[in-house]
């Protein structure tokens, strides 16, 4: 009886782990292997539009590994400028989110306890509503006849409408706006746990408020700063919707280039190698995120 139930328990255990495991292996891990494989093949006019990597004929297995796509990424300035400008856009937006988000998170963490949940909900709610719609909302606001230009002209500050939409500025605004809640959440989680007595001790000992902030508050919230920054930086690098809707022809981002290579040029091998290089660039931020991913995230999501 005992052995039987133990066996049953082991069987249950096996199924609980193997079903999600198999699902993720098939639909998450394997696809990356395929992307890698296709990044090493050449484009062809066929369905699917690339040459086979493996060929088996006359008892000979031929494996063709084509490095041309990667060499092309180095060769063609379009691609590396796209990578560089994506990294730059993501970095600037991350800093922007940090500058706006840190004081917000701090204020929420210092608010009375019953207000904290309400304020946190207010911050999180927009990120749960449609991403596409929120980006779209900015199109109307930033356009030449939009509310910003109209009110600036009405106030007499400018006589000609400012070109904001279809510039990099619009992309920055869009990314900061869309990802701000993801910065605030982990920051709040570390700031709320901060031991206030340390700050009191510092001010009792005569430290100025700014000094206390840089010497105590900020270092203690480091894990939140890193987790939040990575939550903004990583998806921002691959962003497609925001540069497509708010950016102009010169706001080159790698997500947009990948999309165009794939859907417009139908060059699957190049799109795949773009994705692989993007992943390689993001490995450091992703591991950083995993290391500092405060349990906090789980608590508030």
């Amino acid at each position: 009886m005992k052995i039987k139930s133990k066996l049953k328990w082991l069987k249950g255990r096996f199924w609980t782990i193997s079903f999600p495991y198999a699902w993720l292996l098939l639909f998450f891990a394997l696809p990356f292997a395929i992307v890698f494989k296709i990044s090493l093949s050449t484009a062809a006019i066929a369905i699917p539009p690339y040459e086979a990597t493996f060929q088996y004929a006359d008892d000979v297995l031929n494996i063709f590994l084509h490095l041309g796509n990667y060499l092309m990424l180095l060769d063609d300035p379009l691609y590396y400028t796209a990578y560089l400008s994506s990294l730059k856009m993501a970095l600037v937006s991350t800093i922007g989110c940090l500058i706006i988000g840190y004081p917000m998170a701090y204020a929420i963490a210092r608010a009375p306890a019953r207000w904290q949940t309400v304020l946190l909900l207010l911050v999180m709610l927009p990120s749960w509503t449609s991403f596409l719609i929120r980006v779209y909302a900015w199109m109307g606001i930033l356009s030449n006849t939009g509310i910003i230009n109209n009110s600036l002209m009405w106030l007499g500050i400018i006589s000609e409408p400012l070109q904001i939409l279809n510039t990099n500025i619009a992309v920055y605004i869009g990314i900061i706006y869309a990802y701000l809640p993801f910065m605030i959440l982990p920051l709040y989680a570390t700031l709320v746990k901060l031991d206030m007595s340390l700050i009191e001790a510092a001010s009792d000992l005569g430290s100025s408020r700014i000094n206390t902030f840089w010497k105590i508050t900020f270092p203690l919230s480091k894990s939140g700063v890193i987790a939040g920054s990575m939550l903004v930086f990583i998806p921002a690098v691959g962003e497609f919707v925001i540069p497509e809707l708010l950016g102009g022809p010169d706001s080159l981002m790698i997500g947009k280039v990948l999309w165009q290579e794939f859907f417009n040029n139908r060059d699957w091998p190049v799109a795949s190698s773009l994705a692989i290089v993007m992943l390689v660039l993001l490995i450091i931020p992703i591991t950083l995120f995993h290391r500092y991913q405060a349990r906090s995230l789980e608590k508030d999501l």
Binding site: A29, T129, A275, L279
Partner: protein, 271 residues
């Protein structure tokens, strides 16, 4: 009276920044004028136009069905994974599973979308399935990335759970499966509902992954919105956007409420 600090001023500015665009959008959806930025008086006429658009209505129906199936599957996978993550001993399998399940949270969407599409193309090549990409492939894609969110929500709940009740049930002779369904599931049900609702709104909203994973048979609402938005701002889309904001925030609020209620209930006996 306390002086307004810098951080609380920033908080209110930040909240204004977060909500103003949506508010403006909602106001302008009631604009009589055909020009989106010129106010021509109050009128709900664009809502009427919207409900005559068959393409949009079809897309809404497709999106709702996909969201329903995806969030259900996501809850199943996500809960199992969460269970493994919180209750199983540290092992190689557990570690890789928890890494794989949380990876979609940060992965850029274009990469996830591209890789899934290439998988489907390969499967069609080798297995003859799926012949055509459509609802099923979008369902698979959405279930996979929504499962990540469910796993996060449910595992935080499982971690806080008082395990003595489960242990008592097992001591009294209940099988692990029975214990799970009779004891654990009722205790984590608010988290399951919250995860389901969160997945539902994520699936409804997803554009990038859907575009990669879907074929001619399945055009979701965000895809329709995106293709018309690319051409510029239109009053009909303002009306649609308002309705989407309304629905999704309602779902989101409900899921938040369920999660909070669960936490409160858990804390109650302590007081």
């Amino acid at each position: 009276m306390k002086k307004l600090s810098f951080s609380s001023v920033m908080l209110w500015f930040g909240l204004l920044f977060l909500y103003a665009p949506m508010l403006i959008l909602v106001i302008y959806s009631f604009n009589e004028s055909k020009l989106v930025t010129v106010w021509g008086g109050f009128s709900p006429k664009w809502y009427g136009e919207l409900f005559k658009d068959q393409q949009i209505l079809d897309a809404v129906w497709t999106s709702l069905r996909i969201a329903f199936y995806s969030s259900t599957m996501a809850v199943i996978i996500g809960t199992m994974a969460a269970f493994v993550m919180t209750r199983f001993k540290r092992s190689w399998a557990k570690l890789t599973l928890s890494n794989m399940i949380t990876a979609p949270l940060v992965m850029p969407e274009v990469i996830t979308g591209l890789s899934l599409l290439l998988l489907f193309v390969h499967m069609a090549d080798l297995l003859g399935w799926p012949k055509e990409r459509g609802m099923v492939t979008v369902w698979i894609a959405h279930s996979t990335f929504c499962a990540a969110y469910v796993a996060v929500v449910v595992s935080s709940r499982l971690r806080e759970l008082d395990r003595s009740i489960e242990e008592a049930a097992m001591d009294l002779g209940a099988t692990p499966l029975k214990t799970f369904f009779l004891i654990t599931v009722p205790m984590i049900s608010p988290a399951l509902v919250a995860g389901w609702l969160l997945s539902f709104s994520l699936s409804l909203d997803d554009l990038v992954i859907s575009s990669f994973a879907s074929g001619p048979g399945a055009t979701t609402l965000p895809m329709v919105v995106f293709s018309s938005v690319r051409l510029g701002v239109s009053p009909k889309i303002n009306a649609l956007a308002t309705l989407i904001i309304l629905c999704v925030s309602l779902i989101a609020f409900l899921s938040w409420y369920m999660a909070r209620r669960a936490e409160k209930r858990e804390r109650m006996p302590l007081n």
